[in-house]
Symmetry: C2
Subunit: 461 residues, 2 copies
């Protein structure tokens, strides 16, 4: 049987009622997290410019934007909400898809879901289907896809978003096949745009293109019906390796990728590579309450490669702080937390933090195996007090990784921290409860209303 | 100096007044031809479905659609007009860019030009700049780009469209650099979608993405400033070869690619691979007036590979007829022409044409070097009459190729044939005159009005 047929059958046949409960629960957690980081990202400069660009260049009121609740069309909603979801690089991570699995898919699903008046259960089902295909396709296409220069989040995300939309619309086999064929021709995004606003734009485009592909296919547009079987298949064009079709076919839904290997939810709104160091530091703070002014030195011992993306030794802005080990460690000690506000410029500039940051030394332990995109090996944090005491902690896996997933409470706290930039606290709790009960939510419009400042305004009236 | 800087300087510094007169003339011819095939394509099924999909999903009235004159926004206009321009695969061809150079660029330029109220001279200048970069980039990236599976028309077209838009907007160096960086992340389109509606969609997307990249960059969006110099540069991601930066830098504008090697304007609205055979057949018809009923046999002798895309031996529909040597030869003999209407189903079904088609034999001359994407070797057409006379003609290059370019009169006749599906004959002549005098046209809106059925309606009022 052709791989395309098998993939199409998975997309078509999967029913929410057949999906294991733990998978559904993880799906709702991922959705909560993605919507939270999108709310936090809704005020980002990348989003502001995109909104300005799309002003007068978008359609009517069948879909809406996260946060502002502004009415738009489903293509534009997917584009803008998708960009929001990745604007802060604070969204979830999955090894199979070599990137961020939820951000390209969810905005497509909710944009189309709102336009077509789909239920919360429909949204959850479609999201999980798209997420699963995206991840399994990532494993099947191989690491050379990323190595060649592709931003896998965007390319695989386009296919995942398209699959999710096809499921949401209930397209037949032929139209689902065509949706995937169109999506393969819309997939794009290269890694030289990392560290720029174009990186989150990739995700917005992936969402928009998933919606576009499914809409066109639903109306009889034509495309290859062999996207995973054509001589010029997705793997041929986008990878140096052959697409592992056997793996793709056999692995869909067994086990679900969101369960195994699972996802990493970023606990801290900063570079992934400081997360375990921050975890260990915060543990020492809780146990020993070191006074910043009494600290002589902080020594962070890392495996080779751990600090490749940590390109700042001293942070003068919040964005620099996110990629600065010294700043993050100092903030963790001073504040006892690393939260969204940690990276506000006036907090970055605090003398206490800056002085302590200067006392943080990062040492590479060459005896460890170098880390690349994974997080192998271990980190040691030593806080050396002026009185000679040494508080020391070794850590392998950060909180938020599949090994140590965030508790529901921690996950909700992250959402609260993100959402409070837009929503009031009552609405935040309503949104959390609503998303945890997503499969019983009547309509996507209700979900979007919960995420909109309009709900807060309504309350005040 | 970095290749990116050189490219940016070419985009920024090129002035219409510095462009040689013959290049400008060829540019206007290409624009006339592209607008003609877009008018003819405006009624295609691919466009109809796209219009239905975009209904309610597009913006206000700052740009318009070719043919209908329907108001929309510049992103949607570029998307839809770009799809029109390639819908019939009747648009021009260039070897350097391994595809169709004008169709992805012109719709972007006129959409943004109308929105920003640019003049005809601005449009011509921007079009030529984008066209030139697209073609030189095609030579620089190498044939493996196409070989890998990319639809070069779309990928290179995205960069060309973005460059054209940056020029049209008069962006500074930094913003032009960013425009190219964004565009590289939007470039997409794979060849397994050839022969489907998604192929023209690629071109529409390339146009839309060129507009989007330039708009975002103009407002301060960020992207790589090293699109041709980054370790993950455009060539690294999109080719198996290294980008030939020296060639790219040195060749821009010297000579202009539209002049050398030049473009092929398709004289007949059917597969390129029957063009020279049709030319030879029509020559025999003019010289000898063979009566179809008196013909015993027609023998077409071709080099190996000439008939690879000619997958129909007998045509039952117009679309099949475009890829059927037998049908095209029979129609040429019966009608003395191959025009747009040749491929209407009721004309395809004519008994006289079908009977003659059955008498056409295609023979491969194995002594010739196989042809692949080029048109080397030669074709022989022999019309054998029942009375024993044989009319024979050998041909190497078709009319419309750079070797035998269409005369201005033939080019205009092609435009007339295409445009009459939408415009009346007075308006057609006005449009031809206007486009030949493009550099003196006050505004893009005037150009669009000439191409709109609205002008015909105005006349009737």
């Amino acid at each position: 049987m052709r791989a395309t047929d098998e993939v199409v059958e998975f997309i078509q046949a999967t029913q929410l009622s057949d999906i294991p409960g733990d998978v559904k629960h993880l799906g709702k957690r991922a959705i909560l997290d993605t919507l939270g980081v999108a709310l936090a990202g809704s005020g980002d400069e990348s989003v502001r410019i995109l909104l300005e660009t799309m002003a007068g260049r978008q359609g009517d009121s069948r879909a809406s934007l996260i946060g502002s609740g502004q009415r738009t069309d489903s293509l534009s909603a997917a584009l803008i909400n998708g960009t929001m979801a990745h604007a802060l690089d604070y969204d979830d991570v999955n090894e199979s898809c070599m990137g961020h699995p939820s951000a390209p898919i969810l905005p497509a699903v909710i944009a189309l879901g709102e336009e077509l008046d789909k239920s919360g259960a429909d949204v959850l089902e479609a999201f999980l289907v798209g997420f699963e295909l995206e991840c399994k396709l990532g494993s099947a296409i191989g690491r050379s896809h990323y190595g060649k220069g592709w931003h896998a989040t965007a390319t695989l995300g386009t296919i995942g978003a398209a699959a999710a939309c096809a499921r949401l619309m209930g397209l037949d086999s032929k139209a689902t096949e065509i949706t995937l064929g169109i999506a393969a021709s819309l997939a794009s995004g290269i890694r030289s745009n990392f560290g720029t606003m174009t990186k989150p734009l990739h995700v917005g485009e992936a969402s928009r293109n998933g919606v576009l592909a499914s809409l066109l296919a639903s109306k009889g547009f034509t495309a290859t019906s062999n996207v995973f079987d054509h001589p010029i298949d997705f793997g041929q064009v986008f990878s140096e390796d052959k697409l592992n079709k056997d793996y793709l076919i056999e692995s869909l839904g067994s086990p679900w990728d969101i369960l195994t290997p699972g996802i990493t939810v970023k606990k801290y709104p900063c570079c992934n590579k400081v997360h375990r160091t921050v975890d260990a530091t915060l543990g020492l703070v809780v146990d020993h309450h070191p006074q910043p002014s009494d600290i002589s030195e902080v020594v962070i011992t890392i495996p080779p490669g751990e600090d490749v993306p940590l390109i700042y030794k001293k942070a003068t802005t919040g964005l620099e702080g996110k990629f600065c080990m010294q700043f993050c460690v100092a903030s963790a000690i001073v504040d006892g937390e690393i939260v969204f506000n940690t990276f506000e410029t006036n907090r970055v500039e605090r003398a206490e933090v800056q002085q302590l940051s200067d006392k943080v030394t990062v040492v590479t332990d060459e005896s460890q195996i170098p880390v690349v995109i994974d997080t192998g090996g271990h980190v040691d944090v030593s806080i050396i007090m002026q009185d000679g005491r040494i508080f020391d902690r070794k850590i392998e896996k950060a909180t938020g990784t599949p090994t140590f997933p965030l508790s529901d409470n921690d996950l909700q706290n992250k959402f609260r921290s993100c959402a409070k930039t837009v929503l009031n606290s009552n609405d935040i709790e309503t949104a959390i409860a609503g998303i945890y009960d997503l499969e019983n939510l009547r309509s996507t419009a209700d979900l979007m209303h919960m995420l909109s400042v309009a709900s807060t305004i309504d309350l005040k009236v």
